[in-house]
């Protein structure tokens, strides 16, 4: 199973405050543990929303809005993708997140990726199979 680990943003990440050497070292050690355990597929930090944009679709028509965006706690500051055996294992890894991140205040969200094997039988899934998009159980 794969999980997307989302490090929520905060005012510091949105302000583009550079991480301390101590945090870099701690995150480095943490990431290295996951790499050495063979569970880390990918991981990156995201630049503040001031460097980003949003595209809103209405009636299928796109409209571009430049960042920055408010409500830091809604935003994503970084992510990693883990390959583990269970949600509990993903949680166990996230519990080991460096405590000094965010000055001790940080929220991490854990979301499971869709794998095709997850889909149970249903008419919609059978139709997906017909168009060649699902692996049968």
């Amino acid at each position: 199973m794969r999980f997307l680990i989302i490090r929520k943003a905060d005012t510091s990440t949105e302000a583009g405050v550079a991480p301390t050497e101590e945090l870099i070292a701690a995150m480095g050690r943490y990431n290295e543990e996951m790499v050495k355990a063979g569970v880390m597929l990918s991981g990156d930090g995201l630049q503040p929303t001031s460097k980003g944009a949003r595209v809103k679709f209405s009636g299928g028509q796109p409209r571009v809005i430049d960042g920055p965006f408010t409500e830091a706690k809604e935003l994503v500051a970084g992510f990693s993708i883990l390959q583990v055996n269970s949600k509990e294992e993903a949680i166990e890894w996230v519990k080991r997140w460096p405590q000094i991140d965010g000055g001790g205040e940080v929220e991490i969200e854990i979301r499971q990726l869709y794998e095709l094997e997850d889909f149970g039988p249903s008419e919609a899934i059978d139709r997906m199979r017909e168009v060649g998009f699902a692996k049968p159980r």
């Binding site: 997307l4 989302i6 050497e21 870099i24 070292a25 480095g28 050690r29 990431n31 290295e32 996951m34 790499v35 050495k36 880390m40 597929l41 991981g43 990156d44 930090g45 995201l46 630049q47 929303t49 460097k51 980003g52 944009a53 949003r54 595209v55 809103k56 679709f57 209405s58 009636g59 299928g60 796109p62 571009v64 809604e74 994503v76 992510f79 993708i81 949600k87 993903a90 949680i91 996230v94 519990k95 405590q99 991140d101 001790g104 205040e105 940080v106 929220e107 991490i108 969200e109 854990i110 979301r111 499971q112 990726l113 869709y114 997850d118 889909f119 899934i125 997906m128 168009v131 998009f133």
Partner: protein, 140 residues
């Protein structure tokens, strides 16, 4: 440059509603275009937050909260990771996502390591961060 394209969640994605055949076919074609153009690095759908969790670190304490989480508009339902020449190109790709009705995609630039670029796997990053930490420790 790399960008993460975050697809915002809505009631349907949080309810685990499956896209219809047309949507699936259109998305498949779109993904295919991105692959053929060599810009696709990853593209995945996220299961509803009911299958997820949050871990909050605060005041020295650590709390695990199981989903679901309210505020669908705060949540992510899917993402792409793409490699393009500029933010404008990223925006161009996003405008072509075959969303029929209402949707929102956030475009965020990924921090790059100057030396390694997009081939920078977690293994290399771990190595680099370790070296940086060692150098920093030596300086103190």
């Amino acid at each position: 440059m790399r960008f993460m394209l975050l697809v915002k969640a809505d009631k349907d994605s949080e309810a685990g509603v499956m896209p219809d055949e047309k949507m699936l076919a259109d998305m498949g074609k779109y993904n295919d275009e991105m692959v053929k153009a060599g810009v696709m690095l990853a593209g995945e759908g996220l299961q509803p937050s009911s299958k997820g969790a949050r871990v909050r670190f605060s005041g020295g304490k650590r709390t695990v909260l199981d989903g679901p989480f309210a505020e669908a508009k705060e949540l992510v339902a899917g993402f792409w990771l793409i490699q393009v020449k500029s933010k404008d190109e990223a925006i161009e790709w996003v405008k072509r996502v075959p969303f029929p009705g209402e949707a929102e995609i956030e475009i965020r630039q990924v921090f790059e390591s100057e030396d390694f670029g997009p081939e920078f796997t977690p293994e290399l990053r771990a190595q680099e961060e370790r070296q940086r930490a060692q150098i920093a420790a030596q300086r103190r």
